[in-house]
């Protein structure tokens, strides 16, 4: 419990930091006034109109990525799996490319729904392809996700090469960013996130049992197919929603559950709780870093997480026995 409190405090500190740190550093007093005693001060507008939405988006997307990563690792019993392995990112990216390049859709508010629909459709295909007579096979689902992802990735590249304007229009989304996402973008996705979070914690118990093996899980009364289908739905809602808003942000869903497992051991309920606190912390810390690392411009959070993620992934892979499933 002390660990959870510490993680929550870390997240709280980063939430405050995200409101204070940016192109200019704003004092905590000004942040307080902007939120609770607002005026027509330019700093107040900067906080209320830009930093507050950005922080909320970072918090929500981080929770979604962390939980979806924990779910996919538990479902596939593969500690190096991430939500993209089910084709979520590929489906979302392909749909956005079609929307922008072929249908002329512009603006994150419009094409995020294509991203969400693309993620949902691909995951449904993966779910269908992963269905065997014995029920859902995680291995077949992962293979189906990887294959569909590769095919859609090829189509996406071809479309983007033939339409440079489309590539330009979705460049920031492709890199993974939470800059310029107003709360209007987040509100419609929040119900999906809420449903995904509830489902995730609902299946955390069955996933614990399934980690012991299918036979043992069944002997404990776990309905394997139902647990797997619900897990996939939760992953899709969480990762699909996060990708729709921020684009494909890698490594967060991979690293954080891994770290959580390292801290608390194999109990999925605790892994999920830690992931829901640590993933937004990582995302917000990366976003804050991205704001200051190349001033006066910014670096998209997706690039920062990749920079941080690659070496951390190598380090984690070398510690596999410590944090393996």
């Amino acid at each position: 419990m002390a660990g959870v409190i510490a993680a929550a405090m870390l997240l709280l500190a980063l939430l405050i930091g995200s409101m204070m740190i940016g192109s200019t550093t704003i004092t905590p007093g000004t942040v307080w006034d902007a939120l609770f005693n607002p005026s027509a001060n330019i700093d107040h507008f900067a906080i209320r109109d830009f930093r507050l939405p950005r922080t909320f988006v970072g918090l929500s997307v981080g929770i979604a990525l962390g939980l979806s990563g924990a779910l996919i690792q538990a479902l596939t019993r593969n500690s190096l799996a991430d939500p993209g392995i089910l084709g979520v990112h590929a489906g979302a990216s392909f749909a956005v490319t079609v929307a922008v390049g072929m249908l002329g859709v512009r603006g994150i508010e419009s094409y995020m729904w294509f991203a969400f629909a693309g993620a949902l459709l691909v995951t449904l295909m993966v779910l269908a392809l992963g269905s065997t007579r014995q029920g859902q096979s995680p291995v077949v689902m992962v293979l189906a996700g990887v294959c569909i992802g590769a095919v859609l990735g090829g189509f996406r590249e071809a479309l983007q090469l033939g339409n440079p304007d489309a590539f330009d229009a979705m460049r920031s989304w492709n890199a993974g960013s939470i800059l310029g996402r107003p709360l209007d973008v987040l509100w419609p996705i929040l119900p999906f996130f809420a449903a995904g979070i509830i489902l995730a914690f609902a299946v955390s118990g069955p996933l614990n049992a399934m980690a012991l093996g299918d036979d043992l899980a069944q002997s404990h009364g776990v309905k394997l197919t139902r647990a797997r289908v619900l897990s996939v739905i939760a992953i899709t809602l969480l990762a699909g929603g996060a990708t729709a808003i921020a684009g494909p942000i890698g490594f967060v869903g991979l690293m954080v559950p891994h770290v959580a497992r390292w801290i608390v051991g194999p109990d999925q309920r605790w892994i999920f709780a830690y992931s829901a606190l640590l993933a937004p912390s990582l995302l917000l810390a990366s976003d804050i870093l991205g704001r200051v690392v190349m001033r006066p411009g910014e670096m998209p959070v997706g690039i920062i997480t990749a920079f941080v993620g690659a070496p951390v992934l190598i380090a984690l892979a070398r510690r596999r026995r410590v944090s393996g499933l």
């Binding site: 900067a46 109109d49 830009f50």
Partner: protein, 322 residues
């Protein structure tokens, strides 16, 4: 032979007609064979004295059309650039054969089949070298490097395409317009700090740019407006994306200029900026010192003249100029 006899005598009429046609043909052939040599970035090029079938690749299309030229084939221009052209120029562009999205993708067989007698090209040097031999095998090819200043490009294109009369008229109008602006607003410009902000359809969500290229370059270099610019040797300021929360930093400038369409309304990509509370709270905006400028292009006199007309009208609205 009387005129009546000539008109009614069929053999005489036909003979004379054929002779006339032959003479015109000979004259045309001579004219077509007449050549002259011009200097370009790819060396001394022998081109027809009066080229008739000109293909334009890269950045030469719009300046050539602006000079009254009618290209037979072009590389594609962006929809937004085409939409900012005057109607008659849009018609000329649309009548041309679109060869490809960019010069390095041009279908050379298609270009050859159109039998151009001159090809004008302005693309990156490396891109030109990839297609140079193929282009030169099709027709005399005149290449302008990307660092060719816009006036030099207009001079070069007018010289190669034999449209120098149109260019002279444009230059005269440019000089008159410029002198008029400097005479009317010289003091205001000298005592005022300006910043030009922009946002394009390719800009990342939630970002804007401080423009120091494009029309702001014209404003700075030709009109003398005190726009911020990148230090010598550094990347243009316009290449940096600033987040909307940095809009507040524009408060240090007396006048803010921003992009508008021909209708005077902010361009579509720029609308998210003017909708922010921060923009509306800026001193320059609140006091009427934010002015919209129409920039249809910055590499031909016709487009620059439209920009100057827009600048003239906008400066007239500034409280200090009233």
């Amino acid at each position: 032979m009387s005129i009546q006899h000539f008109c009614t005598s069929r053999p005489a009429f036909i003979r004379t007609g054929l002779a006339a046609v032959a003479l015109i043909g000979i004259a045309s052939a001579v004219s077509a064979q007449e050549t002259r040599t011009i200097e370009a970035a790819n060396g001394s090029i022998e081109i027809p004295a009066a080229p008739q079938r000109i293909a334009t690749l890269g950045n030469t299309t719009l300046p050539f059309i602006d000079l009254g030229g009618t290209p037979i084939a072009v590389t594609a221009e962006s929809d937004s650039d085409v939409s900012r052209l005057p109607q008659e120029q849009q018609a000329v562009y649309q009548a041309a054969t679109i060869l490809a999205a960019s010069a390095d993708e041009v279908d050379m067989e298609k270009l050859a089949s159109l039998a151009p007698d001159l090809i004008l090209v302005q693309v990156p040097g490396g891109e030109f070298e990839q297609i140079r031999q193929q282009l030169e095998a099709i027709a005399p090819t005149v290449f302008y490097s990307l660092d060719t200043e816009w006036k030099a490009l207009a001079d070069g294109i007018a010289d190669a395409a034999n449209t120098t009369e149109a260019l002279s008229a444009q230059k005269a109008e440019f000089a008159t317009r410029l002198a008029d602006i400097q005479q009317k607003y010289g003091d205001l410009i000298a005592d005022t700090s300006f910043v030009d902000v922009n946002r394009w359809s390719s800009s990342d969500p939630g970002t804007f740019a401080i423009a120091d290229i494009g029309c702001s370059e014209i404003g700075r270099d030709e009109v003398g407006i005190d726009y911020p610019e990148a230090p010598e040797g550094a990347d243009p300021l316009a290449w940096t994306s600033y987040s909307f929360e940095q809009l507040g930093e524009l408060a240090q400038y007396d006048v803010i200029t921003y992009p508008v369409g021909a209708d005077g309304e902010p361009t579509e990509p720029f609308v998210p900026v003017v909708e922010t509370n921060t923009w509306q709270a800026l001193p320059a905006v609140a006091s009427g010192h934010a002015i919209g400028l129409f920039c249809p292009g910055n590499n031909s006199y016709g487009a620059v003249l439209q920009y100057l007309a827009s600048l003239d009208a906008a400066l007239a609205t500034l409280p200090a100029a009233e």
